[in-house]
Symmetry: C2
Subunit: 364 residues, 2 copies
């Protein structure tokens, strides 16, 4: 049988240092559990810009398409903020989403019991919180045309972006949400601004029709995006699965992550369509960004990157046991009182990136 291939893209900032801890786990899985993964590592984002003049080379896209899954770190570096859109570090993740048609971003917002006090919210509001946000990621205002900045006759300027959603784009991401809901709390909340946007109105209509046709066993509700932002703060546990477009998903999933108080703990998966071969492109990345302010100091929390790898094992490689082993190890390490700086609290033991990674391996 062919080797399982992972493309590893550490990216910028803290990406490389947290990824290093995952690579150690990959090697251990080979030695201890007979899971041999062929890793290829490439530069993306600012790191690729510096080395190759572009944030994402076509060779890297080709490798991503061949791989069984992509493990992504994070991109973004203030030093490139002056360059044009298509040459920003962020263009790497946007380009991968588009080239691999990774349309469904799954972002769990989960509170880990030992970290409940890290939340800004009162503990009773977030204890046991477990929301899954399904965000559309290859459509909407991120990619719609026309777009750009034009100069008018009087010398002033006009910036334009276009939000576009089609029936099929909405259907396929809603399908992911309904399928996930069936495995969880069986409730999908669809979020848009149908009271002011036609694209939101179509969104609501398409989700409603699909629900009637194929998923009437799942509870479906609808919420305006502004109200959703409020409800996430007021009573986040009312939600199970939230499905929404690219732009609202960007804000609402970051908001939901922050409710947990431990951004450094949260993984995500972004999935493409199931191909005829049964294969499905998928990219796994932590929710946190490249955090340039703490990069290179060995203090970043590697757990979100490690848990992203666990998601990869579960969804792309169907290695539920190995995924669960990692997740249990992370949970044990937290219970034992080890904390990186971002989740530190009184009475706990502060550790760095390497120590945290080693502790997880030790538990495994």
């Amino acid at each position: 049988s062919q080797a399982t291939k992972l493309l590893v893209l550490p990216g910028d900032g803290i990406g490389p240092e947290v990824m290093r801890e995952v690579v150690k786990i990959v090697h251990w899985l080979g030695d201890a559990r007979g899971l041999f993964l062929e890793l290829t590592e490439e530069l993306v984002g600012g790191a690729s810009l510096a080395a190759h003049g572009v944030p994402l080379r076509p060779e890297v896209v080709a490798l991503a398409k061949e791989a069984d899954a992509v493990l992504f770190g994070s991109v973004g570096d203030p030093k490139w903020s002056h360059v044009s859109f298509d040459r920003r570090p962020e263009a790497a993740i946007l380009g991968l989403r588009q080239e691999l048609e990774l349309f469904a971003n799954l972002r769990p917002a989960q509170v880990f019991a030992p970290l409940v006090d890290a939340s800004s919210l009162k503990p009773e509001l977030v204890a046991g919180l477990d929301i899954m946000i399904v965000r559309e990621t290859v459509g909407g205002i991120y990619f719609g045309e026309p777009r750009g900045i034009e100069t008018l006759a009087d010398g002033s300027q006009r910036g334009i972006n276009t939000e576009v959603y089609t029936t099929s784009e909405i259907e396929r991401v809603a399908r992911v949400a309904f399928e996930l809901a069936r495995l969880r709390g069986n409730h999908v909340c669809s979020v848009e601004k149908c009271n002011v946007m036609e694209s939101g109105l179509l969104w609501k209509q398409v989700v409603t029709a699909l629900h009637e046709r194929e998923y009437s066993d799942v509870k479906l509700s609808h919420m305006l995006a502004d109200n959703c932002a409020m409800q996430l703060v007021r009573n986040p546990k009312q939600f199970d699965v939230i499905v929404t477009g690219n732009l609202f998903g960007d804000l609402l999933s970051d908001l939901a992550s922050m409710l947990t108080g431990s951004l450094g703990m949260l993984p995500s998966a972004t999935l493409g369509p199931v191909q005829e071969s049964g294969k499905r492109h998928a990219l796994y990345e932590p929710i946190h960004g490249s955090a340039p302010d703490i990069a290179g100091q060995g203090i970043a929390n590697p757990l979100a990157q490690i848990l992203s790898f666990a998601m990869l094992l579960r969804y792309s490689l169907k290695r539920e046991d190995d995924a669960a082993l990692i997740e249990q190890a992370v949970s044990n390490v937290l219970s034992s009182g080890l904390r990186t700086a971002d989740i530190m609290s009184e009475g706990m033991t502060r550790v760095g990136t390497e120590e945290m990674g080693a502790a997880v391996l030790q538990e495994m």
Copy 2:
């Protein structure tokens, strides 16, 4: 001298019952403080739809233009959710914003000391919170063309909306933010998604240039909208004035309001350009919506509507003393322990809409 004219638009749901308490205060101000206001009351939203078949009649727009200020309740009624965009109750507020060119929505998110425990957030994170969100309200994706739903050759559909911002639209709302900041904490945070949207990039450039040219005494920072959603939850007190576009402003201001835990307490003002006569169109409304679920029960909190009227006195009529008198009365009533259902907590005295309005008048 000509009488000062207010157009009173109670709207739907709880609008009429909370507005009634304001009207009592208006009458008292005439008797006790010699402030005579000529009130004209009209239907808008669902109420106007039911009576006249449209949510906003041209006659009402004309009255709004003539008035010295508009006091608005709230619009929205689920019973009209099937009608087309331009006939929804919401079209009343959108129409007034556009017809009167009310481009700057000022939304304070303030925590009232006696209500600090009503917040979802830990008290130390919100005690003393005082943010002012300045939201652009006549541009962006709310009004951009092209927009609509089109049917494609294969029978599937496509929903489109367009986000457009011009230099002058951005400049005038940023100016409002800088001016307000000078009277407060002297810090403006400008929010967009310049990493994925050209309209956001232009926004950032225009705000930066205006700042250099005319407001370099004010501290200016920039933040991505997704990060702003997170930072509002993580550490809201880092903000003074936030300036942002129509859509991000809709979500972020609702989020900021909810941080206070007492949506039923928050007023807002929406201002138009200063005209040659020195006059400026302005509309004042509570942040909360029409709350159809509790309408007609006499339990709604009238304080946001009353405080909206106080804002009207301050900004449009330059009656600082009367505004302060009302605000002090509200504060005293809260300290005395009276609470409507939405802000009720243990040990306090629960009252209805009328009792709360009467208590404020009593204090005055």
